[in-house]
């Protein structure tokens, strides 16, 4: 995918370089669009319901709300949280023929970080937007993917055959660097030979890591991460940062360092100077496979991002009896018979639910678990979360040559943002659409996570819109005039940050342990916020929680 090059495309991209030079001339992206133009763009500020969420804090001013009526509900199993982990848990239960559960979700929609949206009928993601093709060894996930026709079978060599409608179509990635758009994200345009040699050496090293087996006979880097080798010689990598690892291995090429840093920010929302080297290498080396019709590193993607996957995960869930939107658990307590939970109906805050069950799966992040689970004893040392800013821009494509040569993923070199993906990329339609949605991403890393989160939540719509437009203008001068709508989404706790020591530390191992009949399922328990880990946590928690239910 990265080396998918052809001379003619290079030539083509070279022609686009003229436009790129204009960008260069503008230096650091002089932002020329006027107030009137910006104000003509409609849009809104969106994000998770952190106001309700903050009521869970012990220091919240109005923690105790008067309750008018309490509804008693009994179920076998309560799932708290309808993100990927909670939905995978509910899916697994139903796979096992178990239907007597109730899933509650604080937000109006299921999907968590994988939720998607819709601007004028154009689907787009709000968070997670692709799934790298999993290895065949990730059996439960592959079964799910086969069920929904993403995996269509296996060839003679037992390599999975993926549905090509969902494999990211060509052209996949481009990078704006030194004034021109190059094919692929690994820098090669204007990169000195000595640096190219280092980049080459790095990818050879990754290939070697893919084949590395630890002293315990397990592969060095695997998804789910907990099934990776526990060989101390490999786990020691979790003790240093990715930046330190590069230094240790003698890499000093600026373009390589940018690329690795970009990858750490893209995958973990943090710079490589703060990211665990084990996590950094896991990203590159844990997916060896590809498939019969997919290269290693290929990704599956949909216009609405991973919402396509979560929509399939929750297909068949009975609303009302199996899942409730806008319901927030304020407490979960172990009892002699199992658990009981107090739940607020956020749509009618005076109404509360008292739910009794054999067991519960808390499928939310740990920073919430500690406020909700009574008798919570896990230390959670080292857990922190990266704030993210995501924007969806609807752009006029009719009279627009600015976006010519657009790929699925479009990134600019040396920028705070991660660029944008084109939500309509997988369309099979022939006619040029009149408008398209671009999903723009930036992990907020210019401040430490807590301050960055405060900063992000303090910004108003206009400030965030201008931040997004300034970055888009850098890539495509003049694009603001063609933006019809721009919605921004603030993720306060976008993803867990795998700082050195988190993944191999005692706190994470402890946090995975159930407290009585309350089990935990969330990607932060893997230290890596990806669909596969969240899915895995849901499957594991479902199996564990079922132990408490008499068959």
């Amino acid at each position: 995918m990265m080396q998918d090059d052809s001379i003619s495309r290079r030539k083509f991209l070279g022609r686009l370089g003229v436009a790129g030079l204009g960008v260069w001339a503008l230096g650091s992206g002089a932002f020329s669009c006027g107030d009137a133009q910006r104000n003509a763009i409609t849009g809104q500020l969106l994000g998770p319901d952190f106001k309700s969420g903050h009521r869970l804090r012990p220091d919240a001013p109005h923690a105790a709300q008067p309750v008018a009526a309490v509804r008693e509900i009994e179920t076998q199993l309560l799932i708290i949280g309808g993100g990927v982990a909670g939905l995978a848990c509910a899916w697994e239960l139903r796979q096992r023929g178990f239907q007597d559960f109730l899933l509650i979700e604080m937000e109006a929609d299921l999907g968590g970080n994988a939720r998607g949206g819709n601007q004028n009928g154009l689907l787009h993601p709000w968070g997670a937007h692709y799934l790298p093709v999993p290895d065949a060894s990730n059996t439960r996930l592959m079964q799910f993917l086969a069920q929904i026709d993403v995996v269509q079978g296996y060839d003679r060599a037992q390599r999975p055959i993926f549905n090509e409608l969902y494999l990211c179509h060509s052209p996949q990635e481009r990078l704006q660097i030194h004034g021109i758009w190059q094919n692929g994200l690994v820098p090669h345009t204007g990169v000195p030979d000595t640096e190219l040699a280092q980049i080459h050496r790095f990818f050879e090293e990754i290939e070697a890591w893919k084949g590395t087996v630890g002293a315990d006979g397990k592969k060095a880097f695997v998804i789910p991460a907990e099934t990776s080798s526990q060989d101390p010689a490999i786990l020691r990598l979790d003790g240093l940062t990715m930046a330190a690892y590069l230094e240790e291995r003698g890499y000093d090429a600026a373009h390589l360092k940018w690329y690795i840093d970009y990858c750490c920010r893209d995958d973990y929302g943090m710079p490589m100077a703060e990211c665990s080297a084990w996590a950094g290498l896991h990203y590159f080396a844990a997916r060896s496979g590809g498939g019969a019709n997919a290269e290693s590193g290929a990704v599956l993607t949909w216009p609405e991002g991973n919402a396509w996957l979560t929509n399939h995960l929750c297909a068949g869930l009975q609303p009302g009896s199996q899942w409730l939107p806008r319901h927030m658990a304020t407490s979960v307590t172990n009892t002699d018979e199992g658990i009981e939970a107090m739940v607020t109906d956020l749509a009618q805050p005076a109404n509360a639910l008292h739910i009794r069950a054999r067991a519960a799966v808390f499928a939310g992040p740990q920073y919430v678990a500690k406020h909700v689970v009574r008798g919570y004893t896990h230390a959670l040392a080292g857990f922190d979360y990266a704030p993210w800013l995501v924007a969806n821009l609807r752009v006029d494509l009719q009279s627009n040559s600015l976006l010519k040569g657009m790929c699925w993923d479009n990134v600019a070199y040396n920028r705070a943002s991660l660029g944008y993906v084109s939500a309509g990329h997988q369309s099979l339609a022939q006619h040029a659409p009149t408008a398209g949605v671009l999903t723009w991403y930036e992990p907020i890393t210019h401040l430490p996570p807590t301050e960055a989160r405060k900063w992000l939540l303090a910004q108003d719509y206009d400030a965030l819109r201008d931040r997004v437009l300034a970055d888009m203008e850098f890539m495509h001068p003049g694009i603001s005039a063609q933006v019809q709508q721009l919605d921004v989404w603030r993720w306060g706790h976008g993803m867990v940050r795998p700082v050195p020591g988190l993944i191999t530390g005692a706190a994470l191992a402890q946090a995975r342990q159930p407290i009585g009949n309350i089990h935990f399922a969330h990607s932060d328990l893997s230290g890596i916020s990806i669909f596969e880990e969240a899915f895995h946590r849901g499957i594991v928690a479902a199996a564990a929680a079922l132990q408490a239910v008499p068959s």
């Binding site: 052809s6 495309r9 990211c168 060509s170 339609a429 022939q430 006619h431 040029a432």
Partner: protein, 498 residues
């Protein structure tokens, strides 16, 4: 002096009519429908002259310098009119606005000329002589222009140089007037300089007129454009030569009426004649209806479904008599249903089965069209094919783009089909390739519909042979996630056209 002034009336009258004729001819040439174009151009021109005459009363003093300035301006605006419109035709979308703007401007300026001149001359003649003289020369000039234009000017000079030549004459009149009235006007030097500069510009234009024309024609089309429109999907241009039509979509030749029968007979008959009593036929692409015409030659066919993106193309081939005649009135035939839809999306939703399918998409020139040649498309195609059905796929030129051609073949085979690649010579296209896709072995059909001009058993046998310069090469399968075909196609055609 007065004689010379009357001679100048004659010259400027000729020039004025020439600009009008140039605009009318150019509009017919570029936009088609000469009756409408000439009529509206002449109407707009005469009306604009009226505006010019009306405006002349507001010019109170400096009559002579104003007249000279108007002459120079007419020379420039009229002289460069054809070059300007030709070059901009392909570059601007609102061409008509530009055309009528040009006509109006020339008209207004020409409308100013005669009233100004009459007022300049009013002291030299009696009023009755003045009117009589001026209009006599005016109409003689008009006659001369209307005879010279079709008989001499267009054949020998072309539209661009004709306009430039008369622009030169207009400016020459202005320069003569500067000379003649140099005692009565103050700004002699500046007027003379303006005239000389204009004369040089027009002269250079005239000398390099051929270059302007070839630049303009590179942008446009051989033959005469009789229809040009932009649909939401593409630019449609129909051009007409002496005895034939050519259809261009986005500048790419779709067919030439002289040899399209070769293309369409080869596309339809080797496959369709091999299907036992075909009933339901699907045509993907092919909005010209020419493949449908061939399919309608099979009496067993009960129903033809044509799926094409662009309603404007099928409408053109339904409404325009000469085009409807060419496709045998395919779109008004009771057996034919036309669906305007995106082929891939339509195919994915299709629940019907067909006995024969022609897949006649544009060449894979970009990633969007490249998806119509992907493994997924052929898998979907398989799903709508009845037992024993055959599909015929247009597959670009195996001579110019062998890797592209064999990539289509490899992709169709990857979808589980048995393929028969073949090719035919279509003069306006060159050596062209097709691929039959099916699940049972195929043999050259012995019997074809009556009246074919190209396809017969011997010809089909020849079509199957691929000489060394078109021989099968090792290529990748075209998948949505590699778009191998678009890359082969781009490389091969770029090399060929170098």
């Amino acid at each position: 002096m007065t004689r010379l002034l009357l001679l100048s009336v004659f010259v400027i009258a000729t020039c004025g009519l020439i600009y009008e004729l140039v605009a009318g001819a150019l509009a017919s040439y570029l936009l088609g429908d000469s009756v409408t174009q000439f009529s509206t151009v002449i109407g707009a021109y005469l009306f604009s002259m009226g505006i010019g005459s009306f405006l002349s009363k507001y010019i109170q003093k400096n009559l002579i310098p104003t007249f000279i300035r108007v002459e120079i301006l007419i020379g420039l605006v009229g002289g460069f009119s054809a070059a300007f419109l030709f070059v901009l035709f392909e570059m601007v979308t609102a061409f008509k606005v530009l055309l009528y703007g040009q006509v109006a401007l020339t008209g207004i300026l020409v409308g100013l000329e005669i009233p100004l001149l009459m007022r300049i001359l009013e002291d030299e003649f009696d009023f009755k002589d003045l009117v009589s003289n001026i209009f006599t020369f005016d109409y003689i000039g008009a006659l001369l222009a209307s005879l010279l234009f079709p008989l001499v000017l267009v054949p020998y000079l072309g539209l661009i140089r004709t306009a430039l030549l008369f622009g030169i004459l207009n400016v020459a009149v202005a320069l003569w007037a500067v000379q003649a009235f140099k005692d009565k006007i103050r700004s002699v030097a500046s007027l003379r300089l303006a005239g000389i500069i204009s004369l040089i510009a027009l002269g250079l234009g005239f000398a390099y007129g051929e270059k302007i024309l070839s630049f303009a024609e590179n942008q446009t089309y051989p033959g005469k454009v009789v229809y040009a429109a932009s649909s939401p999907y593409q630019r449609i241009v129909l051009s007409r030569g002496r005895d034939h039509f050519r259809l261009y979509l986005n500048g790419n030749l779709q067919f030439d009426s002289r040899d399209e029968y070769r293309y369409h007979e080869a596309l339809v008959h080797p496959g369709l004649s091999a299907v036992k009593s075909p009933k339901d036929v699907l045509v993907l692409g092919g909005g010209d209806g020419l493949a449908v015409r061939e399919i309608l030659k099979y009496p067993s066919v009960e129903h033809i479904t044509l799926v094409d993106l662009d309603a404007e193309v099928t409408q053109l081939f339904t409404d325009r008599p000469e085009l409807a005649e060419m496709n045998g009135h395919a779109f008004t035939h009771p057996k034919v249903t036309v669906i305007h839809a995106d082929a891939f999306t339509w195919l994915r939703a299709c629940q019907q089965k067909f006995d024969f399918v022609t897949v006649d998409f544009p060449d894979p020139v970009n990633y969007s069209v490249g998806k119509l040649y992907s493994l997924n498309l052929y898998e979907e195609l398989d799903r709508v094919m009845a037992d024993g059905a055959i599909a015929a796929v247009q597959s670009t030129s195996p001579y110019v783009a062998p890797r592209s051609f064999w990539c289509v073949d490899r992709t169709i085979r990857e979808a589980g089909f048995y393929t028969v690649p073949y090719h035919a010579y279509v003069p306006s296209f060159g050596e062209w390739g097709y691929i039959l896709a099916m699940h049972r072995p195929w043999a050259i059909p012995e019997i074809y519909p009556k009246g074919l001009r190209f396809v017969d058993p011997e010809t089909v046998a020849q079509m199957l042979h691929f000489p060394t310069d078109m021989v099968r090469t090792d290529v990748e399968v075209n998948r949505l996630n590699n778009q191998a075909l678009v890359q082969y196609f781009e490389a091969e055609w770029a090399k060929y056209e170098e």
